[in-house]
């Protein structure tokens, strides 16, 4: 603490340079924050996928259906605790840009498999009791200002007509970063009204007794329906969601590449700043050495200055990214999880501080290396 006034005075010595360096860190960490948000959104659910859940879909493609009659057959396979199903509804609320996912679900079994969603029991019962009812996620309800009891029109794109639904329940996730941007409606209602693919579902979700036996159970399910007109492909929920994310491209690699380039550039910028700063102060550092300041302490002071720059800029960038998330998903639903987790903020800050330390280390060592008398000659 006793060196803080010296550190602050040194930082304010070249105000423009200090501000520009802080600005570089801020911009880089803002980008890091946004990339982390997008990465999380595009790999949505992979992190929170249930280890004890399998997804069973048509082997040909996810958009191909499976017979509803499979539900009972899957339930009888060893290791299966519960089976539910869901179907993509694909409706539009008011405008095509208001995209959000809608699933027709089996209300009888849904909560046996998806145990992580939270809502008052009376709301769930109200939803179950109303065939035209629906349950919506908290974030979705907040986005459109929906309240319980509201009647909302959804224009069908796969299943024609206007589907008027009553909001009977608003659910929340178990974790704050869990997506709550979906709408659930009754499968029975959908199957009753639609004129095509009656008696079919989109996919099955299977809860298994032992996550360690996931591969065996998945194999047993696929074997059960092998050589049938509707062969299945079963995999863990995490693998299923990763597969969905991969359809967009190798997002993680792209983000990693962009992030690496940005941080490397930042390292050069900050390293250059610190090199100039330290070179300007070589004489002062030599004089401080004559006072008895050990080289290690002077190196720490140089690094502390760089860390302060990195910390201030990094924190500002991350706070800015966080503030952007508080404003909600700017893509109006394409990024259902729009959340910067504390762990990602800590990682960003750690990276910034690490860069700050590396950027100061080499110029600092170079400036303090050698005999004092040689450095004093330059004063």
């Amino acid at each position: 603490m006793r060196f803080l006034p010296l550190l602050l005075r040194n930082l304010l010595r070249k105000k423009a340079r200090t501000l520009l360096t802080i600005g570089s860190f801020m911009a880089a960490l803002l980008l890091f924050g946004l990339l982390a948000i997008i990465s999380r959104a595009l790999s949505q659910g992979v992190d929170i996928a249930g280890a004890d859940r399998l997804m069973v879909r048509n082997r040909v493609s996810l958009i191909m259906p499976l017979p509803k009659s499979y539900q009972m057959q899957i339930a009888r396979i060893d290791g299966v605790r519960a089976v539910t199903h869901a179907s993509w509804f694909g409706g539009v609320y008011q405008d095509r840009r208001n995209f959000f996912a809608q699933f027709a679900i089996d209300t009888e079994t849904w909560r046996d498999v998806y145990t992580q969603y939270r809502m008052p029991d009376e709301q769930w019962q109200a939803f179950v009791a109303d065939r035209e009812g629906c349950a919506v996620g908290r974030d979705l309800a907040r986005r459109f200002g929906w309240q319980l009891g509201d009647r909302i029109p959804i224009e069908g794109t796969i299943f024609s007509g206007t589907w008027e639904l009553n909001i009977r329940a608003i659910y929340e996730g178990e974790r704050p970063d869990e997506p709550t941007m979906d709408l659930w409606l009754h499968y029975d209602y959908l199957d009753e009204r639609r004129t095509i693919i009656k008696g079919y579902v989109g996919w099955y979700a299977v809860r298994i007794a032992d996550p360690a036996a996931a591969e065996n159970v998945a194999g047993a399910i696929d074997s059960r329906f092998a050589n049938s007109p509707f062969e299945t492909r079963s995999e863990t929920e995490a693998a299923f969601l990763s597969g969905l994310a991969r359809q967009i491209g190798n997002i993680r690699l792209l983000i990693l590449t962009v992030g690496t380039v940005v941080f490397f550039t930042l390292l050069l910028v900050c390293g250059n700043t610190m090199a100039i700063t330290v070179r300007e102060r070589r004489g002062e550092l030599a004089v401080m050495r004559t006072m008895g300041y050990p080289q290690g302490l002077l190196l720490m002071l140089i690094m502390a200055e760089s860390l302060l720059l990195a910390g201030l800029g990094g924190a500002a960038g991350l706070v800015l990214a966080k503030l952007i998330t508080l404003g909600g998903d700017p893509t109006r639903g394409l990024l259902p999880i729009f959340y910067l987790a504390p762990g990602e903020m800590a990682l960003g800050l750690g990276l910034a501080l690490g860069l700050g330390a590396i950027a100061a280390l080499l110029p600092g060592l170079a400036a303090l290396h050698g005999r004092i008398v040689n450095q004093l000659r330059g004063v």
Binding site: R9, V287, Y293, V373
Partner: protein
């Protein structure tokens, strides 16, 4: 008393005892011997001026005595402590405790006030903030700048800057003040003020002061003037005779 006894015999109660000091620098393939077997004794409280032509080894000697450089051979014993065996870190600690430096170009840190500049050596001690402030105020009072504590170097005259530098050198109460041409950048009147101040520190506070100078008027105010020629010390009387 300052002496240049070439017999190698030194009295054990001297503050500084230098024996057989040799220092060589290398310039490319050429070896330049700056100090050649130098002998020196200086007692506590003495004010000694070193004179001599450029390249005679004055500043090199000062650097060696201040622990900024190490001799090739020879011994430097200050306050009973042999410096040859000290590591770089130990030398740093030794400098912080025993030596204050004053430079020709003042070398104040421009972004710190006079008080903060003077406080710098004290940041290495365990003194509390209040104690540090008390020491700083006393040092600036001693050099006649009590009213300039919050001034930045750019707001001070050259003489005042050098006074701040002297206060900074004094604030940790070192045994030894090493001044490398402290009046070199000052006009005549200001130079006299600075030398007066050094004289006062020697007389009233028993500080041992070694001053390198080219200014005979400044040297005249010292207790002893020692002339360096080709890496060896010549007695003051000889120096005056030579000049």
């Amino acid at each position: 008393m300052a002496s240049t006894d070439t017999s190698g015999n030194t009295s054990s109660d001297s503050l500084i005892q230098v024996h057989g000091l040799v220092k060589t620098y290398r310039r490319g393939s050429e070896k330049i011997r700056v100090l050649s077997g130098l002998e020196l004794e200086i007692d506590t409280g003495e004010f000694v001026a070193f004179m001599g032509p450029s390249g005679s080894g004055k500043t090199t000697l000062l650097n060696l005595l201040g622990g900024l450089d190490v001799p090739d051979t020879g011994s430097i014993r200050i306050a009973g402590e042999e410096m040859a065996g000290l590591s770089g870190r130990a030398l740093s600690r030794w400098r912080a405790r025993h030596v204050g430096f004053v430079f020709q170009t003042f070398n104040l840190i421009p972004v710190l006030t006079a008080a903060r500049n003077v406080e710098l050596p004290l940041l290495l001690t365990r003194l509390s903030r209040a104690e540090r402030q008390r020491h700083v105020a006393a040092a600036l009072e001693l050099v006649g700048l009590a009213g300039r504590m919050d001034h930045y170097p750019r707001q001070l005259s050259g003489g005042q800057e050098q006074r701040v530098a002297i206060a900074r050198a004094l604030v940790s109460d070192p045994d030894l003040l090493l001044c490398d041409e402290p009046t070199g950048d000052l006009d005549r009147d200001t130079s006299e003020e600075i030398v007066d101040l050094l004289r006062q520190l020697s007389d009233q506070h028993q500080k041992t002061i070694l001053m390198v100078t080219h200014d005979p008027r400044a040297a005249d105010r010292a207790d002893h003037v020692l002339l360096l020629e080709r890496g060896r010390l010549v007695r003051a009387a000889d120096a005056q005779a030579a000049s």
